[in-house]
């Protein structure tokens, strides 16, 4: 067997392995592009719990729950501003920005949705309810391309689509066997939701029908996830301090990061989000920073 043949054989093997996700190093070469805030910026986040991205203006909005602030950063990770909506933010836990520049914020201390218009400096508060009057316990939120608002109700473990009057127009629930969802993502006209205790991802069509379930293996305590354009899933394992990647069929591919306090390590991370360039933002509550990763 010639050297050329061996090389060719090795190449074919490598291609097969990398397609099946068995070549860990190559697939998992994520590294920190920068941190929010940057180390020398003099800005300190006390308790970052979630992040939102303004794709249009290429900005990051980090929610600092302990300081009651939204902190914005530019596309290079530079600090822009900290904002507390005139003292209305006490324990914010999630934020989303509309295409018109307004902000939806979940204020946990009063369990209300805040609609903030920064230009007019106006804050309006809402408490969405079920038709029977039961309160929604707001946990996470997201906007689709039409600025429709989706929220996660932790009380029932279901995702809710709210209409323009903030009435519940659609419920995305996993049925009697689910332990309730802890996170959800909107991806190409579909909604994915994570049942953390069961380590299962549910896919819904927008009419609320479950169209797929993916049971994921090898996780300790998943708390958040993200989906990339290729359909791969990134699961944040809070206790293990890792991000675990699964193929679109739910097969585990590789994991990266690890538990610790140095840069590139996680300590009680809470949220995952892709930015406008496909960089992965990992919100690390314990280390007080957001790792922006690229590969």
């Amino acid at each position: 067997m010639s050297v050329k043949q061996i090389t060719l054989g090795f190449g074919v093997l490598l291609a097969i392995l990398s397609h099946s996700g068995l070549v860990l190093g190559a697939a998992g070469s994520w590294s920190t592009k920068y941190q929010l805030p940057q180390e020398d910026s003099g800005v300190r986040l006390e308790q970052p719990v979630s992040v939102a991205v303004d794709h249009q203006n290429q900005r990051y909005y980090v929610v600092d729950a302990a300081k009651g602030q939204l902190v914005s950063f530019d596309k290079a990770g530079g600090f822009l501003a900290a904002f507390n909506a005139g003292g209305e933010l006490q324990r914010p836990v999630a934020v989303a920005k509309t295409s018109g520049g307004s902000l939806w914020v979940i204020e946990r201390s009063i369990n209300k949705l805040l609609y903030i218009n920064p230009k007019q400096q106006k804050v309006r508060k809402f408490a969405p309810k079920y038709p029977d009057g039961t309160e929604v316990f707001l946990s996470r939120l997201a906007l689709d391309r039409q600025d429709r608002l989706f929220v996660l109700d932790r009380m029932k473990g279901a995702v809710l689509l709210l209409d323009d009057s903030l009435e519940i127009s659609q419920v995305y629930a996993g049925g009697s066997t689910t332990h309730g969802f802890v996170d959800f993502k909107l991806q190409q006209g579909e909604l994915w939701a994570l049942d953390a205790l069961d380590h299962t991802l549910y896919r819904f069509d927008l009419s609320g029908t479950v169209t797929k379930k993916l049971k994921l293996s090898g996780l300790e305590f998943p708390t958040a996830f993200e989906v990339d354009n290729a359909g791969s899933f990134y699961l944040l394992d809070r206790h293990a301090g890792t991000v675990v990647v699964y193929g679109m069929n739910g097969m585990r591919s590789y994991d990266f990061l690890g538990k610790g306090k140095w840069s590139g390590q996680l300590w009680n991370a809470t949220d995952l989000l892709f930015d406008w360039e496909g960089r992965l933002c990992v919100v690390d509550e314990g280390n007080g920073r957001v790792e922006v990763l690229t590969r």
Binding site: V49, L197, N287
Partner: protein, 391 residues
Amino acid sequence: MIIVHARKLLLLAGVILLFSSAGHASDCFKCHEATGFSGKVVHQPVADGDCTICHSPHVSRHKGLLRQAEARLCYSCHEEVAAQVEKKTYLHQPVRQGQCSECHLPHAADGRGLLAKKGSALCYGCHSETQNAYKFTHKPFQRGQCNVCHTAHASDDSRLLKKLGSWLCLDCHKVTARLKKTHLGRDLGVLDCLSCHNPHGGAERKLLRTVSHQPFADRECETCHGQPSGTGLCLGCHEESLASFQVVHSHLGVGGTANACTVCHNPHVGDRPGLLPKNEGRICRSCHADTFARRDNMLHQHANWNSCSDCHQGHGADNPAMLKNGQDVCAQCHERHKAFSHPMGEAALDPRNGKPMDCLTCHEANTGSMFKHFLRGSGERGLCVQCHQSY
């Protein structure tokens, strides 16, 4: 040439014979007092006078000149125990640590199974907290027969029960019309008897747990039953509880579409206020199995680690991991230690992330660790050099 080889082989056989007989009991008892190896029950190799099955007469890397590590040695004959341990989810602590001799005597004992003590006296050596007196006592508990309900090695139940759910109880307590009527005609096979009954004893004949939900005590079942059973049912009376969930991290939502409250609280009876069981960790383990699994494998663990609510806020807290009082949680018990430890707080920022240091920077109190005082690294060097790299 053939004759020379035959002589060599004979010589070798003689040497082997000489050394193999050196381990026979009669030789061992020249030094080791034989009376220490007698009892009502004698381990088979001892009875056969074959010490060398377990011990190497010359050298070993294991204590007592054992031929292998303790558990591995035992499993080489007691395969059925090895198979049980392999299959089950939860292992008894000594089994997990491979310390069979924590319970069994290796040579001889007065009781079956070569147990070091009889009945519950053996179990109470470690589980003294269960040694309680009750007005009414469950018969096996009264007789010290822990093994009627518990298995000593491994189980699929974290309490090491022999069977899951009500099937353990129904082995003795036959399903009668009266029993069914008492439980409102429900299928007894799917009930969790132990959620309401204390299997050791109680203050009344039915061994019900001591703290009752008021409607249950007043026999006003319809207060709760016959209405939608979601979380809203509980909040209807306990509305003030909702505020305790309006924090950054909360346990609300662990029930899925069902009632979140009853995941932790028993709606009928409990062992303590809040209708929680005494064995609190069992509830927490049902969702945080990974934390308990990590802890189980650690050499050094925080005392009272099963009393999760000593450090964690059950409904929720603003702090990560729902810790009480934030990072000052340790000072609740270790007040003195705080004064003479490594600098902490704003005066000592962790160089790794710029956050103020606290007790948990160095101690892993939650899962424990492989190091003394459940430090996150060796206290001699490994831990400190994480920050003090020039050392």
